[in-house]
């Protein structure tokens, strides 16, 4: 048993961090807020060259052949930098989704293209009911020729405006299925949803009789339930890693600030009200680290408790990261409330991710089902 990162994992973390410290400074994050695409394709292809866009894909699909732990490490760093771009949607929702359920042909087509940065993917996992349980899907797929026509309304689809393909769950004659949809094709309407975090982008995705071919089904028709659950778990853990990164940045900034900001003739960090708050922030952030990396390892290793570990992770980190980021503003006082100061970039990222892929309550119910049985 060994809960510490390997040398390679530390190396990966350090190189992602060094790269982002250089290339994704707060000024970059702010610049992208006003960019129509919302991300910098130059940076994107740099990341592709470094192998980060295919981190968890097998080498034969142009990936680095690494696992969930490495993915979480990279995403934690992206969160720490409030990186604006479709990393999680493309690599995890699209890439890992296809990795979990795609056919050989689908993987050959999409994974190398995602890894090289040429194409971007995402998934449309939630509808008007705001229920993350794939069973709640109401979008429909009806047979049409040897393909399908898909209709439905999806919300909060991350980075769909720059995606080349969207994984769309819909209910067909065989049951719940997952389809590959080109968001630019006829019958698809995208409209922008704007949240407090201007470094993430979402769309509402409306599908009206969108025609897809026979080869657009991911996995077996009617067999998407378990696939979507598996994907949701991975997405939840990756989102937790990103929240953890944002929270860590907030803790670091708070501690640094508390050392230099003086009031009453002393650094504010010497006041227990501030010092104890910082200690609590650190405690919860360390616990979040444990939760994220335990879950990432468990998913990768196929451990017995992997599913519940993912829910434990998302429910714990959703709340602790929000608290750490909020407390950081309190530690900073007035300056923490300004647009110019960078704290809000991270705080907003964490907040935006909190309800995504199931909020704390949703995942606590899954935990309760695990320990206390179905309702």
């Amino acid at each position: 048993m060994n809960f510490s990162f390997s040398e390679d994992q530390v190396l990966l973390r350090n190189s992602v961090r060094a790269f982002l410290d250089e290339q994704c400074k707060p000024a970059h994050v702010r610049a992208m807020m006003h960019d129509p695409r919302g991300y910098d394709p130059g940076l994107w292809s740099e990341m592709a060259k470094l192998g980060w866009l295919g981190l968890p894909f097998p080498e034969k699909h142009g990936g680095a052949g690494l696992g969930m732990v490495e993915l979480a490490i990279a995403i934690e760093e992206l969160g720490r930098a409030a990186y604006p771009g479709p990393y999680l949607p493309s690599v995890v929702l699209g890439g890992v989704g296809l990795l979990l359920g795609g056919s050989g042909g689908q993987k050959d087509t999409w994974l190398p293209a995602i890894a090289s940065g040429e194409k971007r993917a995402t998934a449309a996992l939630i509808e008007e009911t705001l229920d993350w349980d794939p069973a709640s899907t109401t979008a429909t797929a009806v047979r049409s020729g040897d393909g399908w026509k898909v209709s439905g309304l999806k919300r909060f689809v991350p980075w769909a405006h720059v995606a080349d393909v969207v994984l769309v769950p819909a209910r067909g004659p065989e049951g719940l299925s997952l389809f590959l949809v080109d968001p630019r094709q006829a019958g698809v309407t995208l409209s922008r949803m704007v949240g407090i975090d201007l470094g993430s982008r979402w769309s509402e995705l409306r599908l009206e009789n969108v025609g897809v071919g026979a080869n657009a089904v991911v996995g077996q028709p009617g067999g998407a339930g378990p696939l979507l659950e598996a994907l949701l778990r991975r997405a939840a853990v990756c989102a937790s890693a990103e929240m953890l990164g944002a929270a860590r940045r907030c803790v670091d900034m708070s501690v640094e600030y508390a050392k230099v900001r003086e009031q009453f003739g002393q650094p504010i960090g010497s006041f227990q009200a501030i010092r104890h708050r910082c200690a609590e922030m650190l405690l919860e952030t360390e616990n979040s680290h444990s939760a994220v990396y335990y879950a990432a390892w468990a998913l990768e290793a196929g451990a017995e408790d992997a599913a519940v570990a993912a829910s434990i992770c998302k429910s714990y980190v959703s709340e602790s990261a929000r608290r750490a980021c909020g407390d950081a503003i309190q530690v900073h006082g007035g300056i923490g409330f300004t647009w110019e100061y960078d704290l809000h970039l991270y705080m907003k990222r964490a907040k935006a991710l909190e309800p995504l892929f199931g909020d704390a309550e949703f995942h606590r119910e899954l935990v309760a089902r695990h320990v206390a049985g179905a309702r």
Binding site: V255, G269, R275, L282, S290, I312, H363, A368
Partner: protein, 405 residues
């Protein structure tokens, strides 16, 4: 990262589990003698003092092996051994700082619970500010004469010996001039008065020392270095035992879910109420996060690293968790939670409380208030974390400004 246990550790766990199946006491332990007998059995199997050197009856065991034994004991809801302070604090202190003669004289008797120990640190006016202690030990050539009062002394009423911190030099700054001594509790100048705790039982006492005698050969470490020794001793209270704690929380949690299935409100089992389910889900999530933390700590210990101030994070985390756990358990159990007698069968908590009684939720709830006070309160832990891990500036405190007293 690899969170699988090694084949070796899995085999060891199996062996411990099999031993426990054979040897676990079949009837509840009621008397100190019964507890001592159970203690000896554990000791003979090599499951106590596992980390101590072989030469003194220990097992030179790795932290992981120690954690596995503690974990299996917790899983089996095994009664605690006796002499917790002897095993947890006094023994390790003697192993590190004691003379050869002291090691020979005391360690094996601690292991076998032939002599029970207590820790005589706190005083009425020296709690968190332990270095303010006043109990004095006067040098009389071949022995010391001890006067003063100690308080909150766990196991004081059954202890044969005490690990004592006393002032040997009142003229120097308060952190200096303290010496660590081994004091016989069974002598005329030592009076122990049990104190009743909020649980209703008496596990700690006041200790009055009037011209009590401590031989020079029972001085641990050098004169005036007791403070430094106490600092290292406090470190023994943390670490590898965390995993076992979490496992016993987990079996308590199992009982809680069981109870929530059987108790009905508004005609349906509590466990079907979404609010109750949220609470249950939250506790289990937090409990598991504590377990991950314990595994991280074990990784450190296995690598031979000292957790240092990281031990404060761990202690703060699980002691505060225990409090939240018990508060939520009380909420879930409603009026049944605070019953000490007459609770329906399904509400019994089959947890050994180390006082020879079967536990109740009410007891566990009250007891959860202790962990954030003893061994350094939560506030003190946060000071340590703030200053030593985060490097935040120290607060201006009178004792740091003044220096000598």
């Amino acid at each position: 990262m690899d969170l699988n246990y090694t084949a070796e550790d899995t085999a060891f766990r199996k062996k411990v589990r099999a031993w426990l199946e054979q040897n676990l006491p079949r009837t509840p332990i009621r008397t100190l003698d019964e507890r001592r007998a159970w203690h000896r059995k554990l000791c003979e199997a090599g499951y106590l003092g596992m980390g101590w050197p072989k030469a003194y009856g220990g097992g030179d065991a790795r932290p992981m092996e120690q954690a596995i034994v503690a974990d299996e004991l917790a899983r089996a809801c095994a009664p605690a051994p006796t002499n917790a302070l002897g095993l947890g604090i006094v023994g390790p202190t003697i192993v590190v700082h004691g003379t050869e003669a002291q090691k020979k004289r005391y360690l094996r008797k601690i292991l076998m619970a032939e002599e029970l120990w207590c820790q005589l640190y706190s005083e009425p006016n020296a709690g968190s500010d332990l270095a303010a202690l006043r109990a004095s030990a006067e040098d009389r050539g071949d022995h010391f004469i001890v006067n003063g009062q100690k308080t909150w002394t766990s196991a004081g009423s059954i202890a044969d010996w005490g690990l004592l911190l006393a002032r040997t030099d009142p003229a120097v700054a308060k952190h200096k001039g303290i010496t660590c001594l081994l004091m016989n509790m069974r002598q005329p100048g030592v009076e122990v008065r049990p104190l009743k705790q909020i649980t209703g039982s008496s596990e700690f006492s006041e200790v009055f020392m009037t011209n009590a005698r401590v031989e020079k050969s029972d001085q641990v470490g050098r004169l005036g270095e007791g403070w430094a020794i106490a600092q290292t001793t406090l470190g023994y209270e943390r670490g590898g035992r965390a995993l076992a704690r979490i496992t016993s929380y987990a079996s308590q949690y199992g009982r809680l879910v069981e109870a929530a299935r059987r108790i009905r409100r508004h005609g349906r089992p509590l466990v079907d109420d979404p609010i109750i389910r949220q609470k249950l889900g939250r506790i289990w999530a937090e409990l598991e996060v504590e377990r991950y933390g314990a595994l991280r700590m074990l990784t450190l210990l296995e690598r031979g690293e000292h957790p240092g101030a990281g031990g404060s994070l761990s202690k703060l985390s699980y002691s505060e968790f225990e409090k939240r756990f018990m508060e939520l358990a009380m909420e879930i159990l409603g009026p049944y939670g605070q019953l000490t007698e007459g609770a329906p069968e399904e509400l019994r908590l089959e947890i050994d409380t180390a006082v020879g009684e079967q536990g109740t939720w009410a007891y566990a709830f009250l007891w959860s208030r202790a962990g954030t006070i003893y061994a350094g309160s939560s506030e003190i832990q946060k000071n340590v974390i703030g200053e030593r891990i985060l490097g935040l500036p120290k607060e201006t405190r009178a004792d740091r400004v003044g220096g000598a007293r």
